[in-house]
Symmetry: C2
Subunit: 307 residues, 2 copies
């Protein structure tokens, strides 16, 4: 009987299963110690975006965590293609991840753990819906300090999100869509799942350190170079948001998302600004034209089903 992958699929312990059935051991240190790393690649109109860059970063980060993937890079790529193919999704959110696993019975030595590799594929996720993006998002600045680089390197795409979660509750309480966290000196860092950009006098800036080197952030840099926009990575005090002409967020889960207010005060005209809209349009139109794209090999679904 055919499995139902209409809600998504996961690759777990070597098998493709409906995502609703995907499970991890309660005792995996990936859960009990949040000892894990992920990378998320998107598919839009049937094409992976920057899949090789994601495989690069994932490989680099798991090595830094001293994890070993049982699948080599070619096999990982193949699993990602098969996963999307099995769902048939043209627009998808595809996360690859590794967990520490468990040490052998009788041991507590994390060096002896057999690391586990998982993939899951869901319909494309929007941090903010296209409708909310048209209006522009309402953002708040949280007083919570993002996990600092001295604790966990932020370029490791980890799951230490309790700071984000508590900040999100606060944002919702204040009627906002999402939040951005600060460092201990009150400089901007990042928000739950995104980097942040400011536009002032036609120039872009984004926090330089203490944040994830987001793939969409890198993509924004490339779009700036193409369109002769200046950008800088800098320390940005949160108070500078109030002076910005425009603010936007960048994420694999939503692309380039305009912000219309910060802490209840309008940014610019209180609607998405021209620089943001130009970049947003460019981002999606170029993606749809195949930029950095690798077509999903949908024919693999049949192969996988025949396994």
């Amino acid at each position: 009987m055919d499995a139902d992958f209409s809600k998504g699929v996961a690759f777990v312990e070597g098998n493709y299963v409906p995502v609703e059935e995907a499970r991890i051991s309660l005792l995996d240190f990936g859960f009990l110690r949040s000892d894990a790393n992920q990378d998320t690649v998107s598919v839009w109109r049937g094409r992976f975006f920057r899949i090789e860059d994601h495989l690069d970063r994932f490989g680099r980060n798991i090595a830094r965590l001293r994890m070993t993937c049982p699948y080599d890079r070619d096999q990982q790529r193949e699993i990602l293609h098969r996963a999307v193919a099995l769902t048939g999704f043209r627009d998808a959110y595809v996360q690859m991840l590794m967990t520490r696993g468990r040490p052998p019975a009788g041991s507590r030595d994390i060096r002896l753990c057999r690391n586990n590799y998982f993939v899951f594929c869901l319909p494309y996720i929007w941090i903010a819906s296209p409708e909310r993006q048209q209006q522009g998002l309402d953002l708040v600045v949280s007083k919570i300090v993002r996990v600092p680089p001295e604790t966990v390197d932020p370029t490791i795409k980890h799951y230490h999100w309790l700071d984000f979660e508590m900040s999100l509750f606060d944002a919702y309480d204040r009627g906002a869509d999402t939040c951005v966290l600060v460092d201990r000196d009150g400089n901007l860092t990042e928000g739950p799942g995104f980097n942040i950009f400011l536009v002032k006098d036609g120039r872009l800036s984004t926090p330089g350190g203490g944040v994830l080197d987001g793939m969409t952030r890198t993509t924004v840099f490339e779009l700036c170079a193409e369109t002769n926009l200046d950008y800088a990575m800098a320390k940005i005090p949160a108070a500078e948001l109030a002076q910005a002409d425009e603010v936007f967020l960048s994420s694999t889960a939503g692309g380039i998302m305009p912000v219309r207010s910060v802490d209840g005060a309008a940014i610019g005209e209180g609607a998405p600004g021209p620089v943001t809209l130009r970049l947003k349009h460019l981002y999606w139109s170029k993606r749809e034209a195949g930029w950095h794209g690798a077509p999903v090999d949908y024919a693999r679904a049949a192969e996988a089903a025949g396994d």
Copy 2:
């Protein structure tokens, strides 16, 4: 057919299952966002230790995380008893935990998540084996900064352990048993699963803030009061370890554990010291005599099996 609980049991989605089969959804935000809280109670010689204190702390912490447990306190207590009873373990490590769960389909709103409750019971876990404890542990001071209070309140017993994990790798590389982390000013915080104490001129000290309010730490305070030992909660620069007469660790998973060296330099005589040994002996002998103890209701195993 009877399930095999010889390796432990877990309470998952309302059922008692062999711990090796216990699973959590890969999509639970308890995993994907480490949005979870736990409390761990031990059983020794057939008695829970401070079970009501653990239920207090767990209830307090899940409320602070805005989680709702589907089981009230009496039901939680009963599940803990049944879990241990099903294994028959006389000495056990029993963890209760809650995860954020998942939002309803189509939503990303964490306020709408149905929170999940789990319990698992394993044979008693020793952070350091009784043999290593007799010699005294070799400890290193990590340069990694523990998740700071401005990021996540350390009295929330959370799973943000990547700082601990990376420090443990470093400790193993240096031939040590475990590690203690510092705050950004170089003061001692805690290690993977334990609080730390110093003894100097017959007086105890332990970090006062930025650490878990460990149950065994509280127990040490009570033992101090009983035996007329002075203790203080203080900011303790890591360098003070070198001057200490004795150092020990406190944890539900191991009790009071002597340290014999820090960063390769002997503490005192390079063996467990007299104050530590007195407290360790007192801790275990009082526990065996029933102090703060609640006998496990082993008769509940039959009830549960009959469910």
